[in-house]
């Protein structure tokens, strides 16, 4: 399926990546090429096949629902671009 400029704009928006208007045609072309390649999958008969969910047939392990660490606020915030008073700071979210 060919991706038009509007779809490319919408995908960029959903992916939260700013793409300049001037770059949308090139992006649409590249995405179309990649999706065209994926369309080869339509040749395969997948009737009755379950989608693969687990790479190796094993049950996911569970662990006890207990706190295993904590009290590491300084470490958690160490790499933050903007941390204030023990919190991550971001631009105003609510009016």
């Amino acid at each position: 399926m060919a991706i038009d400029i509007d779809t490319a704009r919408k995908v960029a928006k959903l992916a939260r990546i700013r793409v300049e208007e001037a770059d949308l045609p090139k992006l649409a072309g590249q995405l179309s090429g990649i999706l065209g390649f994926m369309e080869e999958l339509n040749e395969v008969d997948v009737t009755g096949v379950e989608p693969m969910t687990s790479v190796t047939p094993m049950r996911l392990k569970r662990r006890a629902d207990v706190v295993t660490d904590g009290n590491i606020q300084a470490q958690v915030l160490k790499n933050a671009p903007d941390a204030r008073e023990g919190f991550f700071a971001v631009p105003k979210v609510v009016e």
Partner: protein, 494 residues
């Protein structure tokens, strides 16, 4: 031969006999690294840490407490989080990130006494097959075509690892492999690289690309080295829920050299149209070598092979778009400078546009598209069904008694840096055509250097094993390696 050129095996024996100290061995690598800046393989050097670890290793060696990796100097792919040391997955979005924790693989290696020389170049977020998507710039292969000074790719995504090991800047390196990122660069640079069975090595603390496909493994100068280093990396980890809680056998002990009566499958679907004659000839040589060692060679069919690449390029971007959603400029890494009136959405969008390179942006958007409402079934679910069929193909041949499968590792020798710059993205994806099936099926696969092409560049063959049978796989690879007798090294120009 200076010590940085040694194998792990040789260094281990010399260290234990006291013929060299871990500090001297490490110094030898640090000198080679400083002289190797032209390769752009090491992107963060950690000489102080290396010498501190080497001194500790010397202490352990003296006390007689010396695991095999004790005192062995390694390069670590930038994808591994290393405490206090820059770990940015070759992306500008993680510029300045210094983890407060250590990945399970590096903790295990350090626990075994290994020495970290620094962090290695790679494709951004491991997305690439030529190391040309890196925020650090290209890693360069030590190899050149005969009579040419064109710079070649070391492959990708573990390009820095391949270049560093092939150029003897370190004894071995860690790599990760999502669609061929250990095996393709190993083949391009004449070294050994193994991707273990999915779940054999913990993924905890490794920056995630596509979680159902990612697996870490060693990149080394010999198959025996791969067995020794994989031993130290493998094992159950409660911090990775997909890590297998099964015992890790002694991989080095599996190298018996005896493969008599073992059945090696040759899949006809790997004979691609337009494949260079040299690759076909190499494959035939490999078949002859294994036959000569007493293996039974059998033609097999893996009918869904053709669909592995398109299935991969749905599944991997889908998982990546989800995994990379965390890079939003809030908790770590880059945050864009905001204009007056910009809100949180603008912060996300500008941060991700500035921080991610073109290929990563493309894959995140492809992933977003195939997971979006209306397309989820048509693309993502269909790809997962095809994946199930690809896995079934392998299960069928293993059930019929095939012990391992021999294929080419790559469809060509290394290409020049920049040669693919104007190509369609799909053309670059074709590099993974022989390796990607193994990730989709979760199997172990190893690339072994077998010969040189007409231009003097290394070519490798791939062996694919049964799940959890890395020991047997390494044994077949060891036999192939010794029969091939590959000893060529890149001529030093850097």
């Amino acid at each position: 031969m200076s010590a940085n050129q040694w194998t792990i095996t040789a260094a281990r024996d010399a260290l234990r006999k006291g013929e060299i100290s871990a500090v001297d061995l490490t110094m030898s690598c640090l000198t080679a690294i400083d002289a190797g800046d032209g390769l752009n393989a090491f992107v963060h050097k950690t000489p102080e840490l290396a010498l501190e670890q080497a001194r500790a290793a010397d202490g352990r060696l003296k006390a007689g407490d010396a695991p095999a990796m004790c005192g062995i100097p390694l390069g670590i792919k930038d994808l591994f989080c290393t405490k206090g040391v820059p770990s940015q997955a070759a992306s500008n979005i993680l510029k300045g990130f210094r983890p407060e924790y250590e990945s399970t693989v590096t903790s295990k290696l350090f626990g075994a006494g290994a020495v970290m020389l620094g962090k290695l170049n790679m494709d951004e977020f491991a997305m690439g097959s030529s190391n040309e998507t890196s925020a650090y710039g290209n890693a360069v292969s030590p190899w050149r075509r005969r009579g040419s000074n064109v710079q070649l790719t070391p492959g990708g995504s573990s390009g820095g690892s391949a270049s560093a090991v092939a150029a003897d800047l370190c004894l071995a390196a860690t790599g990760t492999d999502t669609g061929g990122s250990i095996r393709q660069p190993a083949a391009f640079t004449g070294i050994v690289g193994i991707k273990p069975t999915y779940g054999r090595v913990s993924r905890w603390g490794i920056v995630a690309f596509a979680s159902s496909l990612d697996q870490a493994g060693p990149m080394t100068k010999s198959v025996r080295d791969a067995a020794i280093m994989l031993q130290a990396m493998a094992g159950h980890d409660p911090k990775d829920s997909t890590s297998a809680d099964i015992p890790v056998p002694d991989f080095e002990a599996a190298l018996t050299g005896d493969i008599r009566g073992k059945v090696i499958g040759i899949p006809k679907e790997y004979r691609m149209d337009g494949m260079p004659e040299e690759i076909e000839a190499l494959w035939q040589q490999g078949i002859a070598m294994l036959k000569d060692a007493g293996a039974e060679v059998r033609d097999i069919s893996l009918p869904h092979t053709k669909y592995a690449l398109p299935a991969y390029y749905v599944i991997a971007p889908a998982e990546a778009s989800s995994n990379l959603a965390r890079y939003d400029g809030v908790r770590y890494g880059h945050r864009a400078k905001l204009a007056q009136g910009d809100g949180i959405t603008e912060m996300y969008e500008k941060t991700r546009a500035e921080g991610f390179g073109a290929e990563v942006q493309r894959r995140v958007m492809v992933g977003t598209y195939v997971l979006s409402a209306g397309f989820y079934d048509a693309y993502y679910n269909r790809a997962r069904k095809v994946r199930a069929l690809i896995k079934r193909d392998f299960e069928a041949v293993f059930a019929e008694g095939v012990d391992a499968i021999l294929t080419p590792a790559t469809p060509s020798a290394a290409f020049g840096l920049g040669e693919m710059a104007d190509a369609d993205p799909v053309k670059m994806y074709l590099n993974d055509v022989f390796t990607v099936t193994v990730n989709l099926a979760g199997l172990p696969g190893i690339s072994v250097p077998v010969g040189l092409d007409a231009q003097g560049l290394p070519l490798g063959l791939q062996l694919i094993g049964r799940p959890w049978e890395e020991g047997a796989l390494l044994n077949y690879a060891d036999v192939l390696e010794s029969r091939a007798g590959f000893v060529a090294k890149a001529e030093k120009w850097w």
